[in-house]
């Protein structure tokens, strides 16, 4: 068992219910996409799974442990096995890409090693290899502020690949990339998860990408799970219901890229 939520509520400070009673079980090695309209609670769900936030009510179990019943030290230990890819990667502007990628293993490194690596990067080949999988090896010694939004997202992904966690979570990981690159990047993530046998949960804005790359799809709407089924069973009526009242704003854009990328996943 990789992930289990039972009756999980999440309430932000201003009494907004981000999640209302979510029950969810994800087995080890599964690849799951979370889709749903903006503000539905996709990010909240991922933050809950990443142990970034404690649930207001209900139970969370991650990698077989209940993170909020552990001591802070044990929870940090557990968190080294969880990698969360952020939509806007939180990287300091003047940090170099190599340092930003190596930061993925800070939880596994001693403080001394971390500090020495800040002065001279201790695992340049490791960082280069992670970046190379995303075609970004040439930016190894660039500063983060010199990169575009899509390149930054790929640096964030390279950091989590370098971290090599047991549970890979991604919050809109390809939102700033063009369709071809987005498809390619998702397939890199899927290949990695498949090869290592780890669990991958990603929230996605683009429904076609989700259907093309992920065997299991979870639709989230208004803080609840609307549907949870294999990708093949996601049909137009279900999507219409999920995105209802957003139909006018987001007509599904025709995108040729995903069909090109299907074989890669």
């Amino acid at each position: 068992m990789s992930l289990r939520l039972s009756g999980a509520h999440l309430q932000h400070s201003h009494s907004v219910h981000a999640l209302r009673g979510v029950d969810l079980t994800i087995a080890r090695g599964e690849r799951v996409a979370i889709i749903g309209p903006s503000g539905a609670g996709k990010s909240s769900l991922l933050n809950l799974l990443a142990t970034a936030l404690p649930p207001s009510a209900g139970q969370v179990e991650v990698l077989g442990r209940a993170p909020w019943r552990l001591s802070a030290r044990q929870r940090q230990q557990l968190r080294t096995q969880i990698g969360l890819i952020h939509q806007a990667p939180p990287l300091p502007a003047r940090q170099r890409v190599v340092t930003a990628v190596l930061a993925g293993k800070l939880g596994q490194w001693s403080l001394l090693r971390s500090l020495v690596s800040l002065l001279y990067p201790l695992d340049i080949p490791g960082a280069r290899a992670a970046l190379a999988r995303l075609d970004l090896a040439d930016k190894l010694f660039a500063q983060c502020q010199q990169l575009s939004g899509g390149q930054l997202q790929r640096v964030g992904i390279a950091r989590v690949l370098y971290q090599a966690p047991q549970l890979l979570l991604a919050d809109e990981p390809v939102s700033a990339m063009d369709p071809v690159l987005a498809g390619h990047t998702l397939s890199v993530l899927c290949q990695h998860a498949q090869r290592e046998g780890i669990t991958l949960v990603a929230s996605l804005h683009a429904v076609e990408l989700a259907l093309a790359h992920f065997p299991r799809i979870i639709g989230v709407r208004e803080g609840r799970i609307a549907f949870d089924c294999p990708a093949a069973e996601v049909d137009q009526p279900r999507l219409d219901a999920l995105y209802a009242n957003q139909q006018l704003l987001t007509p599904t854009p025709p995108s040729p890229a995903p069909s090109l990328q299907i074989p890669r996943c």
């Binding site: 970034a52 940090q76 080294t80 969880i82 969360l84 300091p92 003047r94 971390s114």
Partner: protein, 275 residues
């Protein structure tokens, strides 16, 4: 209820705060007995005039310049040694006092748990105590304890400046973007490594700038403390003023100007490198 043109909800608090600030400042002016008229009174003008007239030409005899160079070096040494000692205390204290290093804040929307806050308070209290006593008072105290000379000045600067640096460092850590640090904590990193990778890169320029500004202040403070016998330029300045040697006073003031210019140029250079 919603009106068609709702007013800016921040307008009223802003207005009230402005009124409050003025209401508090006015008695302050009264209490400090500020009376600019006294500057224009004839006898005080001629008194000041005589003093300033003696400034020209600045003293430049070889013997005096040698003395000046030595005193300047001593002042710089006092300020620098004091700053180094202050940093030894300020950096750990800032790390202990800053909410930016809170592990609980990462999963509570930036708000540390009450326990974490309670543990930070004693350190904040220590920093407040250190800087609430002016350095000149510490200097007087240490001159009694260790005798006349630069040691007293170094210790006085170290103690007061540790308080100031610690407080401001802690606040700089809190004022930069916290998301990089929180993201690292959520990936299992320890606090200090997360701080070094998540906060330090964004805070480095401001930390450098503030440290150099404080170094500049320490130079001035060491001069003031020279008046109470803590060595350096201040002691020379005190002697020259007692002897009404305006030219020597002018040379020393010019030296201060040069030192401040130097600190400013250094700060600019380092900020440019870090920005």
């Amino acid at each position: 209820m919603l009106s068609p043109h709702p007013r800016d909800p921040a307008a009223m608090p802003r207005l009230l705060l402005s009124v409050l600030a003025i209401a508090l400042l006015w008695p302050g002016v009264q209490l400090s007995e500020l009376d600019l008229g006294v500057l224009l009174a004839a006898d005080s003008q001629s008194e000041m005039g005589r003093f300033v007239a003696a400034f020209w030409p600045p003293a430049h005899q070889d013997e005096f310049l040698q003395l000046l160079a030595q005193a300047t070096l001593q002042t710089l040494a006092i300020a620098t040694a004091g700053m180094v000692l202050a940093l030894l205390l300020a950096i750990p204290a800032a790390l202990l006092a800053s909410r930016a290093l809170s592990l609980s804040a990462a999963s509570r929307g930036g708000q540390p748990s009450w326990l974490g806050q309670a543990v930070r308070w004693p350190v904040r209290g220590l920093l407040i105590f250190l800087r609430s006593v002016p350095e000149i008072v510490w200097a007087l105290l240490f001159v009694r304890a260790v005798g006349l000379g630069p040691t007293a000045g170094v210790l006085a600067i170290a103690i007061t400046y540790a308080g100031m640096l610690g407080k401001v460092y802690a606040e700089i850590f809190e004022s930069v973007e916290q998301r990089p640090m929180h993201a690292l904590l959520q990936a299992g990193s320890g606090r200090l490594s997360a701080f070094a990778y998540g906060i330090l890169p964004n805070a480095a320029a401001e930390l450098t700038s503030y440290t150099l500004y404080r170094w500049e202040c320490a130079i001035r403070a060491s001069v003031v403390m020279g008046f109470v016998g803590a060595g350096g330029l201040g002691q020379q300045l005190d002697l020259s003023m007692r002897m009404f040697a305006g030219g020597e006073v002018a040379s020393m003031l010019l030296t201060f100007l040069l030192l401040v210019l130097l600190a400013d140029a250094l700060s600019r250079l380092l900020r440019g490198r870090l920005a």
